[in-house]
């Protein structure tokens, strides 16, 4: 756990200006169409050292946000929704009538946690993560990101490392921020395929005569290749009886199960192949058997795909996405248990992201002490090319890939809706 003095560094390195710019969505007061109170209606929550939890905090400006964080010493900061009125003044408004305290905008968010995959990863369990199972997160990002862009048409998407064992996604388009709970729930359900827990054996049930185009694209572009390549290499999912029994149970035909089980039990000791090679051979045998027998029952039709989906398809936490008032950890926080900074992940290069190489607080402190970087990352400087510090790269990426395009589009929207409003009121003066 952390010493307050280390966390002081964290608080000094936190990019207040960038976060404020992001969450203001262009309402910086420089344009007559701006809503200067917009940022002040956003809820933040702080978790303090003794697990004291403070909700409904709100701030009028970046300096009051910074001041509060530097004086309260939170070790976790969550971002909530934008409400109809300042969260810290909510008690002044009754729950009925026209001035109700209610969320009005909130990013569409997703939370993917690797512990939800414990039944399909053999290298780690619980809070641990390694280079053999992290690729599950990588493939999840690819599937969800592609869908958000291609299917839903979203443009401003931020992926963030959660600090230990997962990823968060923030969809920031205006359309996304204004979605109702029902619509968020619909998108979450659209992404939902895995319906498993201890109590059922067939956790992915793909009905129908073909895959929905979204699932088909995910399968062909990402999942199949990942399953037959990297996953098998890392996890050797057929190499022992325990492991392959689990897969055989997903086949709803007893005869096929026994046929394969027998075959594999016989070959268990005789083979001189590596674990990985054995897995691949068995996978081929399974596929061939299912292909020839698939007409036996409707539930066998897409059994191969079901197995691939069970092991590789993203498992999002539905509850996080469904409600506007759900709080989610802010990017650039430091994870209290690992010391790693919650840095953004580039979805177009997510194969290269390594959770074990993310800068930790101790590394950052050392860098500062050895005079290797500027203390103040809050600097708005344009010559960021000179900042080669550990955190500088992440901040640069955040700015150039996400923040700048987002702000540009926000300003255009503010400008155009202002012009429409002016146009309308001009008309109303005509005789």
């Amino acid at each position: 756990m952390f010493i307050t003095s280390e966390f002081t560094t964290a608080r000094n390195l936190f990019p207040y200006t960038d976060i404020h710019k992001w969450l203001s969505y262009g309402h910086d007061g420089k344009h007559p169409g701006c809503d200067e109170y917009y940022f002040g209606r956003r809820e933040f929550s702080f978790t303090l050292e003794n697990d004291v939890y403070l909700r409904y905090k709100s701030f009028k400006s970046v300096s009051s946000l910074e001041h509060a964080i530097k004086s309260c010493f939170p070790y976790k900061i969550d971002i909530g929704a934008v409400y109809s009125v300042d969260p810290d003044k909510r008690h002044a408004y009754s729950q009925t009538g026209t001035n109700v305290f209610t969320p009005v905008e909130r990013e569409l968010v997703f939370d993917i946690d690797i512990t939800d995959y414990d039944d399909v990863r053999y290298c780690c369990s619980g809070a641990d993560v390694c280079s053999k199972c992290w690729p599950l997160m990588t493939v999840a990002i690819k599937v969800i990101h592609t869908s958000l862009k291609e299917d839903f048409g979203f443009k401003h998407i931020l992926w963030v490392f959660s600090g230990r064992r997962g990823v968060h996604c923030w969809v920031c388009d205006p359309k996304a921020r204004r979605m109702t709970n029902e619509q968020r729930s619909a998108v979450a359900e659209y992404f939902r395929v895995y319906k498993g827990n201890e109590n059922n054996a067939r956790k992915v049930a793909l009905m129908g005569y073909s895959l929905h185009p979204f699932l088909a694209r995910s399968y062909v572009d990402f999942l199949k290749g990942f399953f037959e390549g990297e996953l098998q290499a890392n996890q050797s999912i057929f190499s022992t009886k325990d492991k392959y029994d689990k897969i055989l149970e997903m086949i709803s035909d007893e005869d096929i199960q026994s046929e394969l089980r027998e075959k594999w039990e016989k070959s268990a000791n005789r083979s001189s192949l590596s674990e990985e090679a054995i897995s691949l051979v068995r996978w081929e045998q399974l596929k061939n058997t299912l292909q020839s027998k698939k007409h036996k029952a409707p539930t066998l039709r897409m059994c191969v795909e079901e197995i691939v989906f069970t092991f590789t398809y993203p498992r999002i936490d539905l509850e996080v996405s469904k409600q506007m008032n759900h709080l989610l950890k802010a990017p650039f926080c430091v994870h209290p248990k690992t010391g790693r900074v919650c840095v953004p992940i580039d979805p177009n290069n997510c194969d290269e992201f390594d959770p074990l190489a993310v800068p930790t607080l101790s590394q950052l402190i050392e860098e500062i002490n050895s005079g290797g970087s500027k203390m103040d990352v809050d600097d708005d400087d344009d010559d960021d090319d000179t900042d080669t510090s550990l955190l500088g790269k992440s901040i640069k990426f955040f700015r150039s890939s996400f923040l700048e395009p987002l702000l540009k589009s926000c300003k255009e929207e503010i400008e155009s809706s202002y012009k429409t409003k002016i146009g309308k009121s001009k008309d109303s003066f005509s005789w």
Partner: protein
């Protein structure tokens, strides 16, 4: 709408072009007799309650269509079409007054009226449906030409993914020469000729307008637009309908609390207030005399009187010394309804959870929400235990144990669990049959009947009801203790 005492009613001035299903967009300008005010509302309530029962019993959409048809004919029909139409409108607006007055009432009314509308819509022919879509003034155009060509293949994939097949020669889905018809296997002995035809008409609609189609992946979505087939129009209008009624209920509530309730306190208000309590059944938020249990009896009572869903959760708590959020809510509120007092509840959860997480973490992370469930924190709402309908519709995921075992367990696990409850293999077959037909509450009712050896005509629709009925039976069998 003006309510008058017994006078001859003037015919409706409703100038709407009289579509078969009114959209209830504006309050009608007509006079209503006081007796009719209540009678019409009661008849409509019978329909809504019937709809509620049907949904709780897991009826599929076709069964619901038939049910709604039957209910409507039974309670709302009138030989004079315009009188029937007036009754429809009047009863809806009266019930708005009744059900606008709290969040729970609003939610129930909204769900039932929406379901009613959905199935009445489905019963209409395509022309009538298109007319109703027009009434809503929706701006969506049909997709044609090159755009449609480019989507054909994927639209076909969507149709096939839903397993929609139609046997040769009897194809309600129109196939035109420029659309793709794919055959799957050919007719030979045991195989059917399967046509997968893309429909003739598709509408391009922002995906936000059809959340239920998106959620169930029943539409193709591209760049933010969903391609809705003609046969799926119902989703589009239902979303509009629900949104409209939801806003209307808020406005109605405002009017009710500010003017109507006071003004009508000697006339309509008593009727309105009586109407809402009569049809929803007990909500088990206050436990009855039968159901006060103490901590020392809880294991025994769980074995003897808990329904399967709660038994499973209870066993898991004892076994794992932990439950995830969904399970804590479902079991926790059930225990509250069964009569477990807050202090005993805290002791129970604490005794189990501290074996895994330690006393400090329990106080920090779990005690608050237990107190919250009992209305002692935060908003201080006294939460009501979940009814079967809600539990059946929940979505247990990895590591969860809540939900309805009849729905969410695999066949093997369910059989094992029923065996532990003492069901014979014969009794189990009846139950498994209901499960296969998705009649989860009937399955639970049959389990109840098998375990206690008596019939349960009302049918189980609430876990606390199961508990109370069970306790009644057990107590009637044991002689009272000597004084």
């Amino acid at each position: 709408m003006e309510v008058i005492r017994s006078q001859k009613r003037t015919p409706s001035n409703d100038t709407v072009s009289n579509p078969k299903i009114p959209l209830y967009l504006t309050a009608p300008q007509m006079e209503v007799r006081l007796e009719e005010f209540e009678l019409f509302a009661v008849d409509r309530l019978r329909v809504l309650k019937g709809v509620s029962d049907g949904l709780a019993r897991g009826r599929n959409p076709k069964e619901m269509d038939d049910l709604v048809d039957t209910l409507w004919k039974e309670h709302m029909r009138d030989p004079d079409a315009s009188l029937m139409f007036n009754k429809d409108i009047i009863s809806h607006f009266v019930l708005r007054l009744v059900y606008c007055r709290s969040d729970e009432l609003k939610k129930w009314f909204l769900s039932m009226e929406t379901a009613l509308f959905r199935h009445r819509f489905r019963l209409q022919n395509f022309e009538a449906q298109r007319a109703i879509v027009g009434e809503f003034g929706l701006p969506y155009k049909a997709v044609t030409g090159a755009e449609l060509e480019g989507l054909k293949e994927r639209l076909g994939q969507v149709v096939r993914s839903l397993g929609q097949i139609s046997p040769t020669g009897n194809n309600p889905i129109i196939s035109f020469s420029h659309l793709v018809i794919r055959t799957c296997t050919f007719s030979y002995g045991k195989f059917l000729v399967l046509f997968f035809a893309v429909e003739a008409v598709y509408y391009k609609v922002p995906f936000e307008e059809v959340p239920d189609l998106v959620a169930s992946r029943r539409v193709l979505i591209q760049k933010g637009y969903a391609f809705v087939a003609g046969s799926q129009l119902v989703s589009l209008v239902v979303t509009q309908f629900r949104s409209h009624i939801s806003k209307a209920l808020i406005l109605t509530n405002r009017k009710w609390t500010t003017t109507i309730r006071e003004r009508e306190k000697d006339r309509l208000t008593p009727i309105v207030e009586a109407l809402s309590t009569s049809y929803l059944g007990p909500d088990y938020s206050q436990s009855t005399e039968y159901a006060e249990i103490s901590l020392k009896d809880i294991d025994q009572v769980a074995k003897s009187s808990f329904p399967l869903c709660m038994r499973h959760l209870f066993e898991k708590v004892r076994e794992d010394h932990h439950l995830k959020h969904g399970g804590r809510m479902q079991l926790g509120l059930f225990l509250k309804g069964v009569g477990l007092k807050l202090d005993d509840a805290l002791a129970f959860w604490r005794a189990e959870f501290t074996k895994k997480v330690g006393s400090e973490r329990f106080d920090k992370e779990y005690a608050y929400s237990i107190r919250h469930n009992y209305g002692k924190e935060g908003k201080r709402t006294d939460y009501t235990p979940y009814a079967c309908q809600k539990i059946i519709l929940s979505a247990p995921g990895a590591g969860d144990h809540h939900g309805c075992p009849y729905r969410h367990f695999s066949e093997d696990n369910l059989r094992a669990a029923l065996g532990r409850m003492g069901l014979s293999s014969r009794g189990m077959e009846g139950v498994m049959d209901q499960v296969r037909n998705k009649h989860y509450q009937l399955a639970c009712t049959m389990t109840f009947e098998a375990v206690y050896g008596t019939s349960c005509d009302a049918g189980i629709n609430h876990p606390n009801q199961y508990f109370e009925e069970s306790q009644k039976i057990l107590k009637s069998k044991t002689p009272p203790a000597p004084v």
